[in-house]
């Protein structure tokens, strides 16, 4: 039988994500790299008490609009839906406004583990790579060191960082095939490619499904070995009105003027 990892719908793709699961969510916090339709499906399913591993806990529509992007969901949809028990993230709150996660955190309704970004990537990779742990010097002398084993290696102090594994990884790619081979576009690769294979089940949301062989062997970013399910987006995500942030506009105009001189 030909291998076929393609599933027919987003709801089917997330059907076995039960209450209490640990899930990884790809992307950086920038909407283009987020598995938006998988997140919407998981919101519809309504699984509770999830532990969520992601770079950000979600900014929600406001920030995307200010950045001038077409709108799509980010991890915030699970937060505002009350599905998250704990977040492991590098940027759990916003520096400019109070996001939904911060509100719940201040109300004592969610837990938080803050991780440095490079260490988050390395811990996820360690799980995927079957390593027992890695020594990282980032965070020495800071809050990140608290409660962790340290070791002097070659005269320098390192913190022992342990692998981070999940039950499910929800990721977003540009194209995929029936073996689960994936390619990403530009800065949307980010945590998506890192998380692929670091969970028991990796589910990829793609913009396009291509025939086996269409992706060049040398240019595949995520070999199919790491991917369990592939589900394709409808052609166009609903676009919403976009307002450009006034400050960004002004700053750009000033820059253009200066360059003109």
């Amino acid at each position: 039988m030909p291998v076929n990892k393609i599933v027919d719908s987003f709801d089917e793709a997330v059907a076995d994500i039960e209450d209490g699961a640990t899930i990884m969510i790809g992307g950086f916090g920038i909407v283009a790299g987020a598995p938006s339709l998988l997140l919407e499906a998981l919101a519809r399913k309504g699984s509770k008490d999830l532990t969520m591993v992601s770079n950000v806990t979600g900014f929600g529509k406001m920030v995307w609009k200010q950045l001038g992007f077409k709108f799509a969901e980010d991890p915030d949809i699970l937060v505002r839906n009350g599905q998250i028990k704990k977040a492991i993230a590098t940027a759990p709150v916003s520096t400019i406004y109070e996001n939904n996660f911060e509100r719940l955190l201040r109300a004592g309704k969610v837990e938080l583990e803050t991780v440095s970004q490079g260490t988050l990537a390395e811990r996820i990779r360690a799980a995927k790579a079957g390593l027992g742990g890695v020594y990282v010097s980032v965070g020495v002398g800071t809050v990140v060191e608290e409660g962790k084993e340290t070791k002097i290696i070659d005269g320098k102090k390192y913190i022992l960082e342990l692998p981070l594994k999940a039950d499910f990884a929800l990721i977003k790619a540009h194209k995929g095939d029936r073996w689960g081979n994936l390619v990403y576009r530009r800065t949307s690769r980010t945590f998506n490619a890192v998380m692929a294979g670091a969970a028991t089940v990796t589910i990829a949301e793609v913009e396009e499904i291509v025939e086996l062989g269409e992706l060049d062997a040398d240019a595949i970013h995520t070999p199919g070995i790491y991917v369990d399910r592939v589900v394709v987006r409808p052609l166009v995500i609903e676009e919403e009105e976009v307002e450009i942030n006034a400050e960004a506009k002004e700053s750009y105009e000033k820059f253009k003027e200066r360059k003109g001189n």
């Binding site: 920038i30 077409k70 260490t119 800071t142 949307s188 890192v194």
Partner: protein, 223 residues
């Protein structure tokens, strides 16, 4: 007494960019530092790195234009340019942690005399945004901080000891503020440049540690 004019964000970014040497790999933080990609001195070739997973991108696009899958660490769309490469997040931090990035430019809340950096959490908020700051502060060969010299109510942010939670110890090499350029050395903080019309004494008055005034201390040069 009316305070003298300080440099605006664009001008600070312009001064920051003067530091970039030919062939440098430069990571620009979110906000003000991100603007520096627009001001590379003419004739120099600099490779910008963003921890989201891109090296060698060009200037920012107009807001709302550009490829929404080609953004810097602040989510602003940038221009593609020949030689650009994209990679995943683990690789981006292999570059950072592994010491392959020549210059990192970040904002800060506080910087200490010894070059300690505090830029991930305002204590009153209790919740920090570490992001890639700790990695960049410990990993880049040279860390430049671009920030306002004082808080909104005029208190110094260049301190003997940071009072805010630390991002990384002994990491800041150069400080570019809205009134001064200060080098962090083993002997102490050396004042190298002051904003137009500012005197070293005026800068010192807004700075907690004692500054060593460089014999060659002069007005900030932008070109």
């Amino acid at each position: 007494m009316q305070e003298k004019e300080r440099l605006d964000r664009q001008t600070i970014a312009l001064r920051v960019a003067k530091e970039f040497q030919d062939g440098n790999v430069v990571n620009l933080g979110i906000g003000l530092p991100g603007l520096a990609c627009n001001f590379v001195p003419a004739g120099r070739e600099v490779l910008f790195h963003a921890e989201i997973g891109v090296l060698g991108f060009g200037e920012m696009t107009a807001p709302g234009e550009g490829d929404w899958e080609l953004v810097n660490a602040g989510g602003q769309t940038v221009h593609e340019q020949p030689g650009m490469s994209c990679f995943d997040h683990a690789e981006a931090f292999v570059m950072i942690r592994g010491g392959h990035v020549d210059v990192s430019v970040m904002g800060a809340f506080q910087v200490s005399e010894k070059g300690d950096l505090a830029n991930y959490m305002v204590p009153e908020r209790q919740i920090g945004v570490i992001g890639g700051a700790m990695d960049l502060a410990s990993g880049a060969k040279k860390l430049i901080i671009a920030m306002n010299h004082t808080t909104k109510d005029g208190q110094p942010r260049v301190l003997k000891q940071c009072t805010y939670p630390i991002t990384a110890l002994n990491c800041v090499k150069l400080l570019i503020t809205d009134i001064a350029v200060i080098e962090v050395t083993e002997k102490g903080m050396v004042l190298k440049e002051v904003a137009p019309e500012w005197t070293p004494e005026e800068v010192q008055r807004l700075t907690e540690p004692t500054l060593i005034v460089d014999p060659d201390c002069h007005e900030i040069e932008l070109m």
